[in-house]
């Protein structure tokens, strides 16, 4: 292990030793306590191979030992070690893959980071992605597993001046798994970044997202879905920092919750002093499929500039009974009518996922299998 990684690991360990697992007294963890995680929930630490990438024009991958110092210096610079889950992952990191998209290049295919953790294991994937000036790329990050244990991946993303990155993340871990993920991104001048987070798996999950709009004129789109059932608890915590003028962000999170599922969304939009001409819009919407399902949406605005347009909206409701009656009155069986209504609820997020057929097919398959099982459970209870 390189000197850099060893010292980063050391800092993570010290920070985690001081912080410990967060409980509800920690504001950012108000709705999810992690103190009851057991060793079985976390798994045994096994060195996990990082995703393997095939070569593409404009794409370079490095191990920290081989990478230019300027890249190595970026490792750990975006993820705050005062967050206990970031500290936990960093304390256990084993290897880092550095992915660089050369300036001005437009990748022909997506960068795919696929992870399949085996039951009983603990995985600590760690990536640094740098999309060079004016480059365009698509990044697919997927986490799946076949049983207990935890994945605690951290990805740091730099979108350089005028570059554009679409980042599609899917978490479909086993229902008894734990997922503690971190995504941190920094956008330079006129960069744009779209992040899509599909959260369907794991018994307990938390996804922290922090995006710094550091360069003037940069734009962020952030879309998330929670599809929960049974006893699942899924917590997304997003923080968007408008640290430069003329920056815009658009955030939409949607939760569909069946069974005794518990969906948590905390989203903060922060506008620094002197960041003028800002637009930040946030919407979180929840759909409860049963009487025991729960949704907590907590939007927050923290604004220190005055020429700012920020909005947030949050709604939680059940399926529209009038619409279901209408569909059934047209001969559509109740079970299909319910599915159509949930699909309609998530449709606008799916529309944004857009062009890449592989990704759209994956999202559709996850949504469709979720719908089949969530309504099968409900019929069973009726």
């Amino acid at each position: 292990m390189s000197q850099t990684l060893a010292s980063l690991r050391q800092s993570g360990a010290e920070s985690f030793a001081a912080l410990g697992w967060p409980n509800r007294r920690v504001e950012a963890y108000k709705y999810s306590d992690f103190t009851s995680l057991t060793q079985a929930d976390l798994g045994q630490t096994v060195a996990q191979p990082l995703a393997e990438l095939s070569d593409q024009d404009g794409l370079r991958c490095y191990k920290p030992g081989e990478a230019p110092q300027a890249l190595v210096d970026k490792i750990g610079s975006l993820v705050p070690l005062d967050d206990p889950l970031a500290a936990y992952s960093t304390a256990n990191l084993d290897d880092v893959l550095i992915i660089e998209v050369a300036a001005k290049s437009k990748l022909t295919g997506p960068i795919v980071l696929d992870h399949r953790r085996l039951a009983g294991q603990a995985a600590f994937a760690r990536y640094l992605v740098v999309v060079g000036r004016g480059a365009e790329a698509e990044l697919i990050e997927r986490y799946a597993s076949n049983g207990q244990g935890a994945s605690s991946p951290v990805i740091e993303v730099f979108v350089e001046e005028g570059a554009h990155l679409r980042h599609l993340r899917s978490q479909t871990e086993a229902l008894d798994a734990t997922h503690l993920g971190w995504t941190a991104a920094r956008l330079e001048r006129d960069a744009s970044y779209s992040h899509f987070a599909l959260n369907q798996g794991a018994g307990i999950s938390r996804h922290n997202i922090r995006v710094d709009l550091a360069g003037a004129g940069s734009h962020l789109d952030l879309y998330g879905l929670h599809l929960l059932d049974g006893q699942q608890r899924c917590d997304s915590h997003t923080r968007i920092n408008h640290n430069a003028p003329n920056t815009t962000s658009n955030e939409v999170y949607k939760s569909v919750v069946g069974g005794s599922g518990n969906s948590i969304f905390q989203g903060k939009i922060y506008v620094a002093k002197d960041s003028q001409k800002i637009e930040g819009n946030q919407m979180s919407r929840g759909l409860l499929l049963g009487p025991r399902a729960r949704i907590h949406n907590k939007p927050e605005l923290e604004i220190y500039a005055d020429d700012v347009i920020c909005s947030h909206g949050s709604t939680v409701g059940a399926l529209d009974e009038a619409a279901i009656f209408y569909l059934r009155a047209r001969g559509i069986p109740a079970a299909i009518a319910h599915k159509m209504m949930v699909e309609a609820f998530v449709q606008d997020v799916l529309d944004e996922v857009g062009d890449c057929a592989e990704v759209t097919a994956h999202w559709q398959a996850v949504i469709s299998s979720y719908l089949t099982s969530v309504f099968a459970d409900q019929d069973g209870q009726a």
């Binding site: 209408y326 009155a329 047209r330």
Partner: protein
């Protein structure tokens, strides 16, 4: 076809009785019109026939083609040939009109033992029926009823009726909000379906519609009951005199 005997229905929530002993007999091939003051219970009758939740039937019966209609699920009633054109069609953002129409057509066909229509065949059929009703084909790409004008919603109801091929249709104020041309188009759509087996129950406030869709019988529904029945001339009389006589009686 449809036999309603002494039907009493109340709102589940507050126990308020809306239908108070309604009796109506409709034979195959007949068109019946129901007129009556606001709040009389006309839409409630349509909702109860279609099987909407939220009503309690305390007395009476409804038989449809010899079956106990009230024992059937909402979708089973539709499969059996009952159609309700809603007074207020529901907007369903995110559900595409074409997808909705195909799903309801194919689910209904399957329940009736008919083969499913392929995407292509269905598209042709839907476009042809839409054209007959002067519905812009672009509307089929939009969400169900979302942002449709009042008249567009009513035409979309008639399009659904044409696709679902019902045996008995309740049209709840399908004429409201239609301009003269649209009214004629909608009426033609209904008349095209008229034959000696199919029956209609047309709820309206305006005699005008009945110039286009000639009813066999006209009834006045006031305070939850049919208080008077007659031929088409009754509609003329109501147009002139209003419902004053019946409101006093109620």
């Amino acid at each position: 076809m449809l036999s309603i005997q002494n039907l009493h229905a109340q709102i589940e929530e507050d126990g308020k009785e809306i239908l108070k002993g309604l009796t109506l007999e409709i034979n195959p091939g007949e068109v019946h019109a129901i007129m009556g003051p606001n709040g009389a219970g006309k839409s409630t009758l349509g909702n109860v026939l279609a099987g909407k939740d939220g009503y309690v039937i305390t007395e009476g019966s409804v038989f449809y083609k010899g079956q106990d209609l009230l024992a059937l699920e909402v979708e089973e009633r539709a499969h059996a040939g009952l159609f309700l054109a809603f007074q207020y069609p529901v907007e369903i953002p995110g559900v595409q009109m074409l997808n909705f129409l195909r799903t309801c057509t194919n689910e209904t066909r399957a329940a009736r033992g008919l083969p499913e229509l392929s995407g292509m065949d269905f598209l042709k059929l839907a476009r042809a029926k839409a054209a007959e009703l002067k519905i812009n084909p672009d509307m089929l790409k939009r969400s169900v009823n979302s942002g449709f004008s009042g008249g567009e919603k009513k035409r979309a109801e008639v399009l659904q009726m044409a696709l679902l091929d019902p045996q008995f249709a309740v049209l709840d104020e399908t004429d409201s909000g239609l301009d003269i041309d649209a009214l004629r188009i909608v009426a033609e759509g209904v008349n095209a379906l008229r034959d000696d087996k199919r029956s209609f129950l047309v709820i309206t406030h305006y005699q005008r519609l009945l110039d286009y869709i000639k009813p066999d019988h006209v009834h006045v529904l006031a305070d939850g009951k049919i208080v008077r029945s007659g031929g088409p001339e009754l509609a003329m009389e109501l147009e002139e005199r209003g419902y004053v006589d019946y409101e006093k009686a109620a």
